[in-house]
C-alpha cells in the first residue's frame, strides 16, 4: 500500500464521511421498517368497521403522550447542542449535553412504563381482549376460576385436607386448624356468591352488564373479608370491539420505538464513557453526529406515533 505517494485530490462520491453516509442510508432502511408498521396501522384502522377510541376503554393518556413528545423534543435539542459543542471542540460541554439527553431518554421510558402499566393492569393486551359477549363471559369465568383455584381459600382447604390425612395432626396443630376453619367459614359467603355467579355465567343466565354488577358486588364483599387480593386478577368484563387489533398495533409500534430508545441510550452511554475518561476528541465528531442523527430519527418516529396512536 502506497499511502505516502501523492494521492490525487480527486475524491469520488459525496462530500460527507463514510460514517455519516452509512448512517443516513441506515436511517433510510429504518424509515421503511417503520413504514411497514405505521402503514399497517393506518390501513388496518381505516379498513376496520370500528376502532376503540374512548380513553376510558383504551387507557390512552393524551397528556402523558404529549409530555413524552415534549421530552423527546427536549432531548433532540440537547443532542444537537452536544454536536454543536463538539464542533467547537468543547468536549466537556458535549459530554454534559449527552448526559442530559440520556436522562431525558430515561424520563421518556419512565413515562412510557407508567402507560404500559396501566394497560397491563386493565388487561388491554393483544389477544386477550374479548370482542364478543360470549368471549367476555368465557374470560370472566376463566379468571374467576383461576382466582379461586389459587386463592387463600384453596390454600387453606388443601392444608386442612393434609392435616386430615396426618394421624396426630388434631392434637399437634389444633390451634392452627381452628384458625383455618374459622377463616374458611368466614369466607363462606364470598365463596357462595362466587359459585352462584359462576353457575349463572356458565348457564349464560346473565348478560354482561349483570355479570359486571355482580362481580363488583363480589369484589366488595371480598374486600370486607380481606379477601380482595385473590380477586384483583379478575378483570371487569368489557367487550372492546376491535380492541385486539388496537392493542396489537399500539404495542408493536410503541414497543419497537422504545427498543430504539434503549439502543440510543447505549450509544449515549458509550459517548459519555469516552467523555468521562477524557478520550472524547475531535475524531469523534462523526460519531456524535451520527448518534444525533439516529436520535432525531427516534424523535421523528414518535412525532408521528403520537398523533396516530393518541389523538386520532
Amino acid at each position: 500500500m502506497t499511502h505516502a505517494t501523492a494521492t490525487p485530490t480527486l475524491k469520488m462520491g459525496v462530500p460527507i464521511p463514510n460514517g455519516k453516509l452509512g448512517m443516513w442510508l441506515f436511517l433510510g432502511t429504518e424509515i421503511m421498517f417503520f413504514t411497514a408498521f405505521i402503514g399497517t396501522y393506518i390501513v388496518v384502522r381505516m379498513g376496520s368497521p370500528g376502532w376503540p377510541t374512548d380513553p376510558a376503554v383504551t387507557h390512552i393518556k393524551v397528556a402523558l403522550g404529549g409530555i413524552n413528545t415534549f421530552v423527546l423534543i427536549c432531548s433532540s435539542v440537547s443532542v444537537v447542542l452536544a454536536h454543536e459543542a463538539m464542533a467547537q471542540r468543547n468536549f466537556k460541554r458535549a459530554t454534559d449535553w449527552i448526559i442530559a439527553t440520556l436522562l431525558l431518554a430515561c424520563v421518556f421510558l419512565g413515562i412510557k412504563s407508567v402507560e404500559y402499566y396501566g394497560k397491563f393492569d386493565h388487561d388491554i393486551l393483544p389477544g386477550r381482549i374479548p370482542e364478543t359477549e360470549t368471549l367476555a363471559l368465557d374470560k370472566l369465568q376463566r379468571e374467576l376460576d383461576s382466582a379461586f383455584k389459587t386463592s387463600e381459600l384453596a390454600v387453606l382447604r388443601k392444608k386442612l385436607a393434609d392435616w386430615e390425612k396426618t394421624p396426630d395432626a388434631e392434637t399437634k396443630y389444633a390451634a392452627e386448624i381452628k384458625k383455618s376453619q374459622d377463616r374458611v367459614t368466614a369466607l363462606g359467603p364470598v365463596e357462595q356468591s362466587y359459585k352462584e355467579l359462576r353457575t349463572k355465567i356458565k348457564g349464560r343466565e346473565i348478560d354482561l352488564h349483570q355479570a359486571e354488577e355482580q362481580l363488583t358486588a363480589l369484589k366488595s364483599a371480598a374486600q370486607n373479608e380481606n379477601f380482595a387480593r385473590g380477586l384483583s386478577s379478575v378483570h371487569e368484563p368489557h367487550v372492546i370491539l376491535y380492541g385486539n387489533m388496537f392493542a396489537s398495533s399500539y404495542f408493536i409500534m410503541t414497543g419497537f420505538h422504545a427498543l430504539h430508545v434503549v439502543i440510543g441510550m447505549f450509544m449515549f452511554g458509550g459517548i459519555i464513557w469516552l467523555g468521562k475518561t477524557q478520550r472524547l476528541g475531535s475524531q469523534h465528531g462523526v460519531l456524535v453526529e451520527n448518534c444525533g442523527l439516529y436520535w432525531h430519527f427516534v424523535d421523528l418516529v414518535w412525532i408521528f406515533l403520537f398523533p396516530l396512536l393518541y389523538i386520532i
Partner: protein, 607 residues
C-alpha cells in the same frame, strides 16, 4: 506520475508478495474473524456452496416423492421414519419443499450473489482498499450462522421444520394448530429469516457506502463495470425492501408468540383449536411479504446480470453493446420491481382493479429485460468469441433467462394466470430464472474470478463437462415442468397422482427426477474442481483473461489493502479491441499519451 500509471498491463512482473509485509495477523483474525473483504467473500462462497448441497439434497427428496410416491425414501426414510418402513409422511413433504426453497433462496442465492461476489468484487472493481465498514462486513457474515442454526435445528423440534411454504402465508403459519410444522419449526424459521435479513441489511448499507464514496480517482459512475452497477442497485433494493419483510416477520412472530392478531381474522376454528380472536387481515401478510420478495427475485438475478455482462464483453473481446442502456435497464428493473409485487396475488382475493394495475406494471418490466437480452446478443455480434468456461456459463445464462422470462409473460397475463397460478408452470418459471439464469451466472462468476481469489486457474475441461452436464440435466428436469403446468398439475402436492387427471404424468416425473439426480452429480465436479484447484490449479498472474477492469491490475490473490499501486481510472471498463492500442484490450488504468490518443480517432460512441 509514474506511480499512478502501472506500466505492466500484463502484470506478470509483480506478484503480490510486497503487499503482505505490513500486517501480521493471527490465523483467527486472518481467516476466521477476518475483516478483509476478500476473505469474507470467500467465506460466503464456501458457506453458500455447502448450503447448495443441503438445498439440493432437499430438492432431491422432493423429487423422490414426486417420482416414487410413498416409496421408501433413500437415506432419509430409514433414518427418520423407520417406523413407517422408511415412507415419509405427507407433512414431511411440505417441510422438504419449504426448507428447500428457504435454504436455496436465503442461504444460497442471495448470499452467494451479494455476500460472496459482492464482497469479493466490489472493492476490487472500484479500486478501494476494503469495504467502508470492515467490521460490519464481518458481522454480516457471522449473522448468517445463527440463521443457518435456526433453519437446521427446526427439523429436530416437535412437529418438525416449517411447512407453510417459503411464502409462509398465514393462517397456516400464524396458528400453531394449523399444521405439524406450524409449531416451533415456524417460529425458528421466522427467527432465521430475521437473522438473514439483518445480515443482508448490514451488507447492503456497506456496499452502498463503499460504492458511493470509495471509488478510485477517475472512477466516475459511468465508468463502473456493470457488475458494480448491479451490486449497487441490488443493495438499494435490499435496503429498502427488506426492512418491510423484517417488520412483517416480527408481526407474524408476535402473532404466534404473544397473541397479537395482525394476520389473524377472528372466529377461525383451526384444527379444532380455540376460535381465534382479533380482526386482522390475512392478505396483509401477502402484501408485505411480496413487497419484499418480488424485489428479492430481482435481488436474485441483477448481480448475475451484471457479472454476465462483464464476462460476455470480456470473452467476446468487444465493448459491451449499449453500456448506458444496460445500466438504465438495470435501474428500471429495480424501480419497476417495486411496484409489481401484486402479480403473485392475482388469485388471492385481492381487489381485481388492483390486479389490473399490477398486470400492467408486470408487463412493462419485460421491457428492460428485453433491452438487456438484445444488448447481450449485440455484444456477441461481431465479436471474437472465446468459449471459456465462464463464457459458456454466461451463454447458458442468456439462453435460460429468455426461457424463464418468457414464461413470466404467461403469468403476467392475469386471465392466463387464473389457470396456471400455483401449478408447475410457476415452478418451471422460477427455476429457469433462479437456477437456469442466476446459478449459471454464478458458476461463470466462480470460474471467472477464481484466479483472482486464489492465484490459480480452475481446470478448464472439468469445467466444460460440468457445464454440459448441468445444462442438460437442468433442462431435462425443468423444461417438462412447463408441460406439467399446462396439464394443470398443482405445485406443493405430495401425491399429485391422487387426482385421476394427473395420474398419467408419473413417468414424466420419473424422467425429471433422474435428470435432477444427474444434475446433482454434476455439482460434485464443480466442488471437486473448486477445492482441487484451490491448491493444485495452474498458477497465473494478475490478468489471465486479459480483461480491463481494475481487479485485474491487483496481484492474484491481492494482499491486504488490495492494490500495490493506487489505481487511477482513465476510461470505461469495456474497451476491448480498441483501435488505440495494439492489444485487443485496454485496461481502465492504462494511461495513453496524447500521441497515442491522436493516432487513431476513435469512432463515435453511444454515450
Amino acid at each position: 506520475m509514474s506511480t499512478l500509471n502501472p506500466a505492466h498491463p500484463l502484470g506478470h512482473a509483480h506478484s503480490g508478495d510486497d503487499a503482505h509485509t505490513h500486517h501480521e495477523l493471527s490465523f483467527v483474525r486472518k481467516y476466521v474473524f477476518s475483516t478483509d473483504h476478500k476473505i469474507i467473500g470467500i467465506q460466503f462462497l464456501c458457506t453458500t456452496l455447502l448450503m447448495l448441497m443441503v438445498g439440493g439434497s432437499l430438492a432431491l427428496g422432493v423429487r423422490w416423492q414426486l417420482a416414487f410416491p410413498w416409496k421408501t425414501m433413500p437415506i432419509i426414510g430409514p433414518l427418520l421414519f423407520s417406523s413407517q418402513g422408511g415412507v415419509v409422511p405427507p407433512e414431511f413433504y411440505t417441510m422438504l419443499f419449504t426448507m428447500h426453497a428457504t435454504v436455496m433462496i436465503f442461504l444460497v442465492i442471495i448470499p452467494i450473489l451479494a455476500g460472496a461476489f459482492g464482497n469479493f468484487v466490489i472493492p476490487l472493481q472500484i479500486g478501494a482498499d476494503d469495504m467502508a465498514f470492515p467490521t460490519l462486513n464481518m458481522l454480516s457474515y457471522w449473522f448468517m450462522w445463527p440463521a443457518i442454526g435456526f433453519f437446521m435445528s427446526s427439523f429436530f423440534v416437535e412437529g418438525g421444520g416449517a411447512a407453510a411454504g417459503w411464502t409462509s402465508y398465514p393462517s397456516l403459519s400464524a396458528q400453531a394448530a394449523a399444521a405439524p410444522g406450524s409449531g416451533a419449526g415456524q417460529t425458528l424459521w421466522l427467527m432465521g429469516v430475521t437473522f438473514v435479513g439483518v445480515s443482508s441489511m448490514m451488507g447492503s448499507v456497506n456496499y452502498m457506502t463503499t460504492i458511493i464514496n470509495m471509488r478510485a480517482p477517475g472512477m466516475t459512475l459511468f465508468r463502473m463495470p456493470t457488475t458494480i452497477w448491479a451490486m449497487f442497485i441490488t443493495a438499494i433494493l435490499q435496503a429498502f425492501a427488506l426492512p418491510v419483510l423484517t417488520a412483517a416477520g416480527f408481526m407474524l412472530l408476535m402473532d404466534r408468540l404473544v397473541g397479537t392478531c395482525f394476520f389473524t381474522p377472528g372466529g377461525l376454528i383451526i384444527n379444532n383449536a380455540e376460535p381465534t380472536v382479533g380482526s386482522g387481515q390475512i392478505l396483509l401478510w401477502q402484501h408485505l411479504f411480496w413487497f419484499y420478495s418480488h424485489p428479492a427475485v430481482y435481488i436474485m438475478i441483477l448481480p448475475a446480470m451484471g457479472m454476465v455482462s462483464d464476462m460476455i464483453s470480456t470473452f467476446s473481446r468487444k465493448p459491451l453493446f449499449g453500456y448506458k442502456p444496460m445500466v438504465y435497464s438495470l435501474s428500471a428493473i429495480a424501480g419497476l420491481g417495486f411496484i409489481v409485487w401484486g402479480h403473485h396475488m392475482f388469485m388471492s382475493g385481492m381487489n381485481p382493479y388492483l390486479g389490473m394495475t399490477f398486470m400492467l406494471s408486470t408487463m412493462m418490466i419485460a421491457l428492460p429485460s428485453a433491452v438487456k437480452t438484445f444488448n447481450w446478443l449485440g455484444t456477441l455480434w461481431g465479436g471474437n468469441i472465446q468459449f471459456t468456461v465462464p463464457m459458456l456459463n454466461s451463454l447458458g445464462f442468456v439462453s435460460m433467462f429468455i426461457v424463464g422470462g418468457l414464461s413470466g409473460i404467461f403469468m403476467a397475463a392475469v386471465p392466463v394466470d387464473i389457470y396456471i397460478h400455483d401449478t408447475y408452470f410457476i415452478v418451471a418459471h422460477f427455476h429457469y430464472v433462479l437456477f437456469g439464469a442466476t446459478m449459471f451466472g454464478v458458476f461463470g462468476g466462480i470460474h471467472y474470478w477464481f484466479p483472482k481469489m486464489f492465484g490459480r486457474m480452475m481446470n478448464e475441461s472439468v469445467g466444460k463437462v460440468h457445464f454440459v452436464l448441468s445444462f442438460i440435466g437442468f433442462n431435462c428436469t425443468f423444461f417438462p415442468m412447463h408441460l406439467l403446468g399446462v396439464a394443470g398439475m398443482p405445485r406443493r402436492l405430495a401425491d399429485p397422482y391422487n387426482y385421476p387427471y394427473l395420474a398419467h404424468l408419473l413417468p414424466m416425473n420419473q424422467f425429471m427426477t433422474y435428470s435432477a439426480i444427474l444434475m446433482g452429480f454434476a455439482q460434485f465436479l464443480l466442488l471437486g474442481n473448486f477445492f482441487y484447484s484451490m491448491f493444485k490449479g495452474k498458477k497465473v498472474g494478475r490478468n489471465p483473461w486479459n480483461a480491463n477492469s481494475l481487479e485485474w491490475t491487483a496481484p492474484s490473490p491481492p494482499g491486504h489493502g488490495n492494490f500495490d499501486i493506487l489505481p487511477v481510472v482513465y476510461r470505461g471498463p469495456y474497451e476491448y479491441a480498441s483501435p488505440l492500442v495494439e492489444e485487443d484490450f485496454l485496461p481502465q488504468t492504462r494511461r495513453l499519451t496524447p500521441e497515442q490518443m491522436a493516432a487513431v480517432k476513435p469512432p463515435a460512441t453511444a454515450h
